[in-house]
Symmetry: C2
C-alpha cells in the first residue's frame, strides 16, 4: 500500500455545488484515497450565513472571512461562489498566494478564463475548470488530453439543460412553452429568472469555453451568434415532429479556412441525428477530430453531485501532480463571415392565411424554393394565423432579404421564425 | 512561448496502428507541440520486413532488432506488435530499462495488465493503455480521472465493432448473418478469421479491462460469461424489429452487494435505449456513477487513426509528466452468482410448428408465462420450423430447466436461442 498524499481544500461557497462537494467527499473519501492515493479534507468553508443548516458540514470549519479560507494552509482553493465578483478577486488572491484553484464558474471562465490561466501559469500553479461546462461530462479533459492529438474541426452540442427539458416536454407531453418552463422551475431545472438559459446566453458561454480549448484560439463573446427558444411554439414542435424532426437548442462551433464561427440557436434535427434523442435536462457534445472522427458524449449537464464530481476530478488531478496541458498563448483567429446555406423551417404570423401566396412569391423572387407549405387559422382570438414553410437550401442573407420585403409589404403580425434543418 | 519538451518515441511494430501513429505525428506534430508543449519524434521503428513500402515512414529509422528500439535513448516505448508474445517480453524489457510504455494490446492488457502496471510502478515509470479499449474513445481516462470521485455501479456497452456492423447490416439491409459477415470482411471491419470478434471474446477482454479499472478489482477471465452472435438469424432480427427492439451485442459489468458479474451476449434493446441507436462499426459505453448518474460515450472503436489518437494521448500525458492514477493493489471481489431475472426472446428450432403447445406447457410448469408466440414453417428444405416466444420475467435457472425438459422430450432440431430483453 502506497502512503496517501494529503490534499487540503479551502472551500469558497457552500451552495448547491459546495454542499454536493462536501457530501461527495464524505461519501467517497476512502474510495478516492484507494483509487488515486489522494486523501481529501477541508480546511475552511466560506459561507454568508453561519447559522444556516447544512447537513453533513462540520460547522467548526465555517467562516464568513474569505481570507481565512485562502490563507489557511490549504493546497487547493475551490471557488463555488459564482458570478463575476467577488469570485474573480477571490481567485486572483488565491493564485497570488500560489494556491491551485478549481472553479465551476462558467460565466467567469467564459469571460476571463484565459487571463486566469495565464496568472496561474506565471505562479506555477494549476487552474481547473472542468465543472464550468456540462458538469459531470469530462469534456474539458477529453479536449485537452484524450483528443490532444486531433485537429478539432467542429463541436456541436446541447449545452443547456433548461432549454432541452422545455423542448422535450413540449414534444412529449404536448404542453406549451410557458407550461413547460413553469414545470422546469418547479422541478429545479430552471431558475426563477430563466433569461440566461432560455435566451441562449448560458449555452453561448459554454460554447465559447469549449471552442477556445478545442481551437486554441481566443474568441470574443460578441462573436457568438445567440438565439433562444422563447419564440418556439407548440405548433412549431408538432409540425417538426410530424415530419420526422426534433426541435432542439443547439450550440455549434466550426473551424474553417476562413476562420471560426460560433452560433447557438434552435434547429430541426432529423430523428436519426445523435442529438435528437438527447432528452430532458441532459447535455451532449459531438466533437469532430481529424483522427478520431465523430465522438459523442452525453450526461447530466448540471446538478449538485455531477458538478461536484467534476470539481473533484480537477482536485485529484492537481493533488496527483498531474500538470494540466495549458496553452497560455492563444491564436487570434478571424471570424468566418458565415452565410449559412441550408434548408429551413420558417413561420410567419399573418393576418390572413391567404398571405401565403404573396410570401411564396417574394421567396421565389429571391430564388428560394418552397418544399412544403401550410397555413393555419388562429387557435384563439389572441393569436394570429400562421404560414409555415419548409424551404430548400438558401443562404441566410437571401432569406433575410426576403423577410425584409415581406415585412415591408405589411404582411406580418409578429416576428417571423426561421430554424435551420440539420442534415 | 514556453520551450517545448522533447519526447522521443521508440516504436515496436509498424502495422495498421503503427503506420497511423507515424502519419498522425507527421500531420499534427506542430499542433501537439503548441497545445501541450511536447515535441514528438521517433528514434527507431521495429519492423519484420525492412523492404516493405511504408509511405511517410523514415526508412533510416527501421530495424528488425527489438533491442535497438528499446535501448536507444527513447523516452517512451510504444508496443504495437500485438498478441501475447513477444509483445509481453518487449514490454517487460522496456520497463526494466526504466522506459515508459504505451500499448494498444488489448489481449495482453486483459490478461496481464495488472502485473505490468505493478512492474511499471516498481520502476517508477508509466504504463499507458488507453488504446487497448474502444480506440479513440477516451474511456480509460474517463474512468481513471474524469469520474475518479464516483463509485461506479455498472458499465454497459457495445464493445465490438465487427458484431455491431453485422447486426446493423442485418437489420437495415435485411441480409443474412453470413452475407453481413462477408461484407464486414470486405470493408475491413472483420478479420479473415472472425472468431474472436463474433464469438464475443474480444468484447469480453475489453469488458474485463474496463471493469477492473472501474471497480478496482481483479477479475479472472473465466468469470466473464461469453456468448456471441453466430446463432442470430435474420428472422430473429426482423421479429425483434417489428416489436420495437434492436438486437445488439452488449457487454455488461455490474457491481452489487454480492459481488461482480460480467457478461457479454446478444440482447434485445428497446429502440429508445441509448445503445439501440449505435450503428455500424461504432462502439459505445454507458457508465453509471453514484455522483454523475448515467454517462454515455460513443465513437469509432477501432481503426488506424482513432487508435493512434489514443496512443498519442497517453504519450503526451507521460511527456507532460502527468502521473497516471495507478492503483496497484486491486481488491479481490466475489463473483456474484447472478441468476438474471428478466423478460426474454426465445427461439426453438423444431420439427413441426405444433410443438409450440408442448413447449409452452413445459414453460408453464416452470411458472414461465408466454407474452407473445409465433411459429413459422422453414424457408428452405435445409431449415427447420421455428417456435418464437417472448416470455415474461423469469430466472435464468428456471428457463434452463425448462429448456432441458424440452430437449429431453426430443422436440428440438437444433440449439435453442434465448436473448434477454433490456428495459
Amino acid at each position: 500500500m502506497t502512503t496517501a498524499r494529503n490534499c487540503k481544500i479551502g472551500l469558497l461557497g457552500c451552495g448547491t455545488v459546495g454542499q454536493g462537494l462536501v457530501d461527495l467527499v464524505n461519501r467517497n473519501r476512502e474510495l478516492i484515497r484507494e483509487r488515486s492515493g489522494v486523501d481529501l479534507s477541508f480546511t475552511r468553508i466560506l459561507v454568508r450565513d453561519l447559522a444556516k443548516r447544512r447537513p453533513g458540514v462540520d460547522t467548526s470549519l465555517l467562516t464568513t472571512q474569505p481570507d481565512r479560507v485562502i490563507n489557511n494552509g490549504c493546497d487547493v482553493v475551490v471557488e463555488l461562489v459564482g458570478g463575476l465578483e467577488p469570485a474573480r478577486s477571490f481567485i486572483q488572491r488565491a493564485l497570488h498566494s500560489r494556491k491551485h484553484v478549481v472553479t465551476a464558474n462558467k460565466a467567469l471562465v467564459a469571460l476571463d478564463g484565459f487571463t486566469l490561466l495565464q496568472s496561474a501559469s506565471r505562479q506555477r500553479v494549476q487552474f481547473g475548470f472542468e465543472a464550468s461546462v456540462c458538469a459531470g461530462i469530462p469534456i474539458i479533459r477529453a479536449l485537452r488530453s484524450g483528443l490532444v492529438a486531433n485537429s478539432i474541426r467542429s463541436i456541436a452540442g446541447i449545452l443547456n439543460g433548461t432549454c432541452n427539458y422545455i423542448l422535450t416536454r413540449m414534444a412529449e407531453a404536448g404542453i406549451s412553452f410557458d407550461d413547460a418552463l413553469r414545470e422546469a422551475q418547479v422541478k429545479g431545472f430552471a431558475e426563477a429568472d430563466p433569461t440566461l438559459d432560455i435566451d441562449g446566453h448560458d449555452a453561448a458561454q459554454k460554447l465559447k469555453i469549449l471552442a477556445e480549448i478545442a481551437f486554441g484560439a481566443s474568441i470574443s463573446s460578441e462573436s457568438v451568434q445567440v438565439d433562444g427558444i422563447r419564440h418556439i411554439t407548440l405548433d412549431d414542435v408538432d409540425t417538426a415532429r410530424k415530419l420526422g424532426y426534433a426541435v432542439k437548442h443547439v450550440a455549434v462551433a466550426e473551424l474553417e479556412e476562413s476562420g471560426v464561427s460560433l452560433r447557438v440557436h434552435p434547429a430541426l434535427l432529423p430523428n436519426a441525428h445523435p442529438l435528437a434523442s438527447v432528452r430532458d435536462e441532459n447535455n451532449a457534445v459531438i466533437v469532430k477530430g481529424d483522427a478520431v472522427g465523430e465522438m459523442f458524449f452525453q450526461g447530466k449537464g448540471a446538478g449538485s453531485l455531477p458538478s461536484a464530481s467534476a470539481v473533484l476530478s480537477d482536485i485529484v488531478d492537481i493533488a496527483s501532480h498531474k500538470k494540466s496541458i495549458t496553452r497560455v498563448s492563444l491564436r487570434a483567429l478571424p471570424l468566418a463571415n458565415k452565410d449559412v446555406d441550408c434548408r429551413r423551417y420558417v413561420r410567419f404570423p399573418v393576418a390572413e392565411p391567404n398571405a401565403i401566396g404573396k410570401i411564396t412569391s417574394v421567396l421565389a423572387q429571391q430564388g428560394i424554393a418552397v418544399d412544403r407549405a401550410a397555413a393555419t387559422w388562429p387557435q384563439s382570438p389572441s393569436e394570429h394565423s400562421q404560414v409555415k414553410l419548409f424551404i430548400d437550401s438558401c443562404k441566410e442573407s437571401s432569406l433575410q432579404s426576403a423577410i425584409t420585403t415581406i415585412f415591408e409589404l405589411n404582411l406580418l403580425r409578429g416576428e417571423s421564425v426561421a430554424l435551420p434543418l440539420a442534415a
